[in-house]
Each structure stands twice: as structure tokens, then as C-alpha cells.
């Protein structure tokens, strides 16, 4: 148990006839980040709610820092922080008041709750907005305040349920930076997301859930290896150039080159650099000018498609 922060063992959860989880096993080593990836309705949030003591599993065992979530929920609640998509802030209270209130509910003495609030406001770049009511905050600021609130009690394990869903790209990247900072401080993190790039950016290990079951797990690289092969990708300046390029490299890849507008990619299996040189030579011989030429590994989008036979965004609830 010593180096495992979170464990699910054969967890199932049914709501009436609906089986939300159908036997999920996963572990999160202490100090690491697990990304739980899956489309809407896959069961990610149900798993987090069980770990956060909000739902009892139908069967199976769940432990957080060695505490059984069913038998000792109070101990689990002292260990965890939960931040989620539904930001549970009080809009009419200021950022500072929200954090002090949470501190008081964690039974910190008043002065300590205030000091903790001030420290978190500074850490999350909310000092200027500290004494404005939360309803005046932007989406990104609300998520940061919500995350700060989940950290008031110095949790050893943090659950982030879709922390960037609905945020604009700039706020998303800012949120990623904040999350990376927490991980550097040694917090164990379980993160659910439906964004493949988010799991790729933040997680040490990834578990892919689809329809209540774990369908794959491993590092981002290991998952990509399961799709197999590298891709040589480049861009051209015109459609005429695209046609010329496709003709030139037609026989290099395992299959015909894929064209998306002016972006062309060639699946080259394990022959990465050799194939890259081949592509360069052929394009040069054909007199096609290209930009952004390089080998890229398959994205998690490719992984999800290969594992489930459907695209992640397609399925909703």
C-alpha cells in the first residue's frame, strides 16, 4: 500500500439498469498523475465520485491513501481535494471569502484560514481579484479559484474532474501550468478529461475508459505505440503543389498519403528516419517546396480511434 495513493479494484456501479462502471481496476502511484480519458458518459465522473466518497460502489473496493472509501469515508475526506467541472463557488462571496469559508470548514482557526486563503490567492494569480465577488470572475479565474478551494486542506490526493472543459484555449493552457506546478510539489493527481491532448500534456499514465470499462492503459508513448508507427507530415503552399507532392511520395508509405487541405501525412511504420530521407529526396526531385516537414508520433486521437473504432468526440452520454 505504501507507494499507492489511489486504487480501484473491480469497481462496478449500476444506476437501476444502467451499468455506469463494469469492473474498473486502476492504481495511481503516489506523486504521479493519472489521466482518465474517455468520452462523455464513459464513467469517468462516476469513478471520481466513488473515490471522493460521494457514491457507494455497487461492488468492488476503492482505497485512497490506504483508507477504504466505503468503510472510512471520513478519513478519505481528510486526505483528498476535489475540483470539478461544476464550479462550486458562492458567486456572492469574494474570492477571499470563498477560500476562508472552505478553510473554516476544514477546521482551520480563523487566522490560519485567512493566511491560507491569502497564500492560495497569490499562488493562483488572483490577488488583484481577491476582494471582488466570484460572479465577476472570468471562466479561467473561476476554475483557478475552484482549484484553490480544493487545496485549502493540503490534500495528499487531488481529483480534478474535467478541469478545463469549456475553457478557451488560452485559459486552458494557463490551467495546465497551474496543474503542473501542483504536480511538482508532489501532489498525487487523478485527472479526468475528454481532451486527448490534455492527458498527453499532464499525465504520467493514462487509462482509457469507454462504456464503463478500462480499454487501455499505459504511458502516452506506450499507447501511441499500440497504434503503431510514425507519420511523416509536411505542408505545401498550393493545391497544385499538393498534387505533385502526393504523386512524388505515393509509394513511400504503408498506404496512400493522407491529404487534409495543404497538409499531407504519410504513415511510415517503424522506418521513421529512413522514410523521412526518402520523402525529402523524392520531393526535391519533383521540385516541390514544403514547410514544416517532420516525423510525428500518432496523436491520442489516433489512439482512441484505433482502440474503440469510434472518434472520442462522437459519443455523447
Amino acid at each position: 500500500m505504501s507507494d499507492v495513493a489511489v486504487a480501484l479494484e473491480g469497481i462496478t456501479k449500476s444506476f437501476g439498469n444502467v451499468e455506469a462502471l463494469r469492473g474498473v481496476d486502476l492504481t495511481v502511484p503516489r506523486g504521479s498523475v493519472l489521466g482518465v480519458l474517455g468520452p462523455n458518459g464513459a464513467g469517468k465522473t462516476t469513478a471520481v465520485r466513488i473515490l471522493a466518497t460521494l457514491l457507494r460502489p455497487t461492488s468492488g473496493k476503492a482505497y485512497v491513501e490506504g483508507h477504504d472509501v466505503v468503510r472510512d469515508p471520513a478519513a478519505v475526506r481528510r486526505t483528498i481535494g476535489l475540483a470539478g467541472q461544476a464550479t462550486a463557488l458562492v458567486d456572492e462571496l469574494t474570492g477571499r471569502e470563498n477560500l476562508v469559508m472552505v478553510g473554516r470548514l476544514h477546521h482551520l482557526p480563523k487566522a490560519e484560514a485567512e493566511a491560507r486563503a491569502a497564500a492560495l490567492l497569490a499562488q493562483f494569480d488572483l490577488v488583484d481579484a481577491a476582494d471582488r465577488t466570484a460572479k465577476t470572475y472570468s471562466g479561467g479565474m473561476r476554475r483557478r479559484l475552484d482549484l484553490a478551494a480544493s487545496l485549502v486542506g493540503h490534500p495528499k490526493v487531488l481529483f480534478l474532474d474535467e478541469p478545463t472543459t469549456g475553457l478557451d484555449p488560452r485559459s486552458r493552457i494557463a490551467m495546465w501550468d497551474v496543474i503542473r506546478g501542483l504536480v511538482r510539489e508532489g501532489t498525487t493527481l487523478l485527472l479526468t478529461t475528454q481532451y486527448l491532448d490534455e492527458a498527453d500534456e499532464l499525465a504520467d499514465n493514462i487509462v482509457v475508459i469507454d462504456r464503463g470499462k478500462v480499454i487501455a492503459e499505459g504511458t502516452s508513448d506506450a499507447l501511441k505505440d499500440r497504434v503503431g508507427g510514425d507519420v511523416v507530415a509536411f505542408s505545401v503552399a498550393s493545391e497544385a503543389a499538393a498534387r505533385a507532392a502526393v504523386d512524388a511520395v505515393a509509394n513511400v508509405g504503408d498506404s496512400a498519403p493522407a491529404v487534409a487541405g495543404l497538409d499531407i501525412s504519410v504513415a511510415v511504420g517503424a522506418r521513421g528516419s529512413e522514410a523521412l530521407l526518402d520523402v525529402v529526396r523524392r520531393l526535391d526531385a519533383a521540385g516541390v517546396a514544403v514547410s514544416g516537414l517532420g516525423i510525428r508520433r500518432p496523436s491520442l486521437d489516433d489512439v482512441f480511434l484505433a482502440l474503440t473504432g469510434h472518434v472520442a468526440e462522437e459519443e455523447s452520454a
Binding site: 465520485r49 471522493a52 466518497t53 460521494l54 457514491l55 471520513a74 475526506r77 481528510r78 483528498i80 476535489l82 470539478g84 467541472q85 461544476a86 464550479t87 462550486a88 458562492v90 456572492e92 462571496l93 471569502e97 469559508m101 472552505v102 473554516r104 470548514l105 476544514h106 477546521h107 465577488t133 478551494a149 486542506g153
Partner: protein
Amino acid sequence: MSTMTWAMADTWVMAKRNLTVWLRVPAYLVFTIVQPTIFTLLFRYVFGGAIHADVPGGYVNYLLPGIIGQTAAFASFATAISLAVEVQKGVVDRMRAMPMARSAFLGGRLLADVVRMTITILVIVGVGYAVGFRFQGGFGRAVAMVALAIVLGAAVCCISATIGLWLKDEESTQAFGMIWMFPLTFVSSAFVPVSSMPGWLQAFAVNQPITHVVNAMRALALGLPLRDDLWLSAVWLTAIFVVFAPLAVRVYKRVS
């Protein structure tokens, strides 16, 4: 500190939070202060002239205990709405994942609503005094009337809390959270003497809890004999607490 002391501390933190929200949202202040004031003035000056009530001091003295009882009952509508909204927003989930006392969420709501209701009641007493109402039974009985109104309000809060937590949705709660209170408060002795109603309606009006409580409040306010109304009120209110307080807690525990 003991578990009990923590539960009380947590309840107080939650109550303070709810009261702060109430003070900062003008709409809530309108609901709890302006609306009952308008009601008092309407009944006093628009309907009052047409209603004959045989009590010392005339209709305004008859009306005030009734309108206070009705306001105390209606105040719980805000309880239902706030709880439904907080379940909907996921606030309840976050609170339950924290190491705070589990009772504090509902307890803090009830405490805040009782404070809010007390303020409303005192405002109506003030407005009543401005338009001619006078307590007739001395200070102790006046305090007892206010206390009985607060207990009534707290009991109805338990019913409303159950409804709000059960519906879990602001719109449905807007629709169904208060509708049942209209027949209960208007088909009672709150605004008109029950004897003016048709016989079939009297049967209901005479025997329902609001009538007993309002009659007891009126007797306390005006120094009239209490008859059976005080103990019948006590029975009804106790029954409401015994049934609905555990029910609200049960629905709260299961809500997701």
C-alpha cells in the same frame, strides 16, 4: 473539540455564508422585506375594509398575526429554491467531499433561514404598528407570538427543504415549491374569519395546522383566551418536525 462542537461550528460557518449571500442579493431582500410589507398594506387598506373581524382593535389586529404566520410559512420557499440550486450546481457534492460535519449543510440553511425569517417578522410588526396594529396581551405574550411564528416557519422549512432536495431543479421548485402553501395559508383563519367560508371549506379550514397556529398567535397577540389552539399547534408542529426533518436529511443523503 468534540464532534458536536465541530458540527455547531460548521453549521455556523454555513449559516453565515447563507446570510451573507442574502444580504448581497437585492432580490432576496425584496422577497423577504418588501413583499410582506406590500401584503400587509394591501390587506390592511384594500381588503381590510370589506372584512369584518370581531376582535379588539378591529381588522388590523386580526390581520397582523395572520400575515406573520403566512409570511413565516412562505419564507421557506427560499429554502427550497436555494437547496435545489445548490444541488444542481454541484455545491452539495463539494461540501460532502470535505471533512466538515454532514449535518452542517442543512443545519446552516435552517439556521440562516430562521434568522432571515425573524427579521421579516420584526419588519412586519413594525409596519403593523405604523398602520394601527397594537399588541394587547403584554410583552411576554408578544414574544411568545413571535416565537410561535418562528417555530411554524422552521417546521415549514423542513417540508420545503425536502421538496427542494427532491426536485433538485430550480424551475420545478419555482413551480411546485410554494403552490401547496396557497390553499394552506389562504384557506385558514389567517386573513378572514373561517365562519365566512362555505361549510364544506370550513371543515378543512378549521382543522388544518395553519388555522390552529394562527389562532394561537392571535390569542397571544391580542390577549384572548387560548382555548385548544396552543396545544393543537404544538401537536401539529411536532408532527411536521418528526416526519419532515428526518425525511429532509434522508433525501439530502441520497441526493446526487
